[in-house]
């Protein structure tokens, strides 16, 4: 799932400090799972903003809600009858949801309330790590199920670089070397012979090198 982290409160206050009616819109999707932008976080942010406005001597209306998903028009449409009551919306959805909200309500100022970080997993509560960079052409079948694009700092395709030391990456000793992980995994699977077949240069046009991407599924479209 997409992982995000709440923006610093002072940055959010800086965006909305002169306003008098603010809606904090959470998202029940990915950002709820990583506890950055669900209903609970929306309530906390709205309460903090109310405290800010009140202590500053000018009480403002700050309301909160959470939509099932902000990356679907059907759910964003639930705001249509009330969004005009507010000067601005703080979206706690990921960058995609926040932008979709902006596109749907073109006349309304929308501020992001989270920093969207990566596609990752929950190692444990409050500890999330990256697993996928959405490059558009999955290599996991060739690399023992461990992604060299997301797990290797240099996105190497044919084994580790010279900076790999004792299984750790030269970028940071806390980062396991992605290729060390791939080697150990292939060894466990008895597939080390895969290292004898060089991987051809990757076609990055399916990644960001091809510009903003889209998927069109004619079989699904109505």
């Amino acid at each position: 799932m997409i992982k995000a982290i709440g923006k610093p409160l002072e940055e959010i206050i800086g965006n909305v400090q002169d306003l008098s009616k603010v809606l904090v819109a959470g998202c029940d999707g990915c950002v709820t799972v990583c506890e950055a932008g669900g209903l609970k976080e929306a309530k906390v942010l709205a309460s903090a903003l109310r405290l800010y406005y009140t202590q500053a001597g000018r009480p403002a209306q700050v309301d909160e809600l959470s939509l099932t998903r902000q990356c679907d028009k059907e759910y964003l449409a639930q705001l249509s009858d009330r969004i005009d009551d507010y000067d601005a919306v703080i979206s706690l959805a990921c960058g995609a949801g926040c932008q979709f909200l902006t596109e749907m309500y073109n006349h309304k100022v929308v501020y992001p309330g989270v920093d969207t970080c990566f596609i990752g997993v929950n190692e444990e509560r409050g500890y999330f790590t990256e697993r996928c960079q959405a490059c558009g052409r999955c290599l996991l079948a060739e690399t023992g199920g461990i992604c060299p694009i997301a797990r290797c700092s240099k996105r190497m395709l044919n084994g580790p670089c010279g900076g790999s030391e004792k299984g750790k990456c030269e970028v940071n000793p806390d980062i396991p070397c992605g290729w060390e992980l791939i080697y150990e995994r292939l060894k466990t699977l008895g597939q080390l012979d895969r290292f004898e077949k060089p991987v051809a240069p990757k076609d990055w046009t399916s990644s960001r090198d091809g510009g903003p991407r889209k998927i069109v599924r004619e079989d699904l479209r109505i």
Binding site: L9, I13, V44, T54, Q55
Partner: protein, 125 residues
């Protein structure tokens, strides 16, 4: 024990200090509390293993929020006591009440129409 402690205290009982969430603490301030004490079991003695440690982290987070919104983080504190430490409880309440009186009424209460006397809220497990 007939211990004396300031009457400005309102005790809210919870099953475990781990039940106390960030939003509960913020709402207490929104509703005009001048200070909030969260009183949990002694560290290592939580009946639910780690509830008091979760509470400690949440109190820390609320402290940060209060600093950033201009109320000051000193208005909230985490305290750890066993059920046999009534004397210490009274001492902590006096200490916190003194601190809150020093800080003065919460700006939330003074900027709203309120006029209640200084109050300390306690969440106790």
């Amino acid at each position: 024990m007939r211990l004396q402690y300031p009457p400005s205290l309102r005790i809210i009982e919870v099953p475990c200090s781990g039940k106390v969430d960030i939003i509960h603490l913020l709402l207490a301030f929104e509703q005009g509390a001048d200070g909030v004490m969260v009183v949990g079991c002694l560290e290592g003695d939580c009946h639910y293993q780690a509830g008091n440690l979760y509470a400690k982290k949440r109190v820390g987070r609320v402290k940060e929020i209060l600093e950033k919104v201009g109320l000051g983080g000193e208005r909230i504190g985490m305290f750890n006591l066993s059920s046999g430490m009534g004397g210490k409880f009274a001492e902590y309440v006096r200490e916190m009440t003194g601190k809150v009186l020093e800080l003065g009424p919460s700006p939330i209460r003074t900027t709203k129409a309120g006029g209640r006397p200084a109050a300390v809220e306690v969440a106790s497990s």
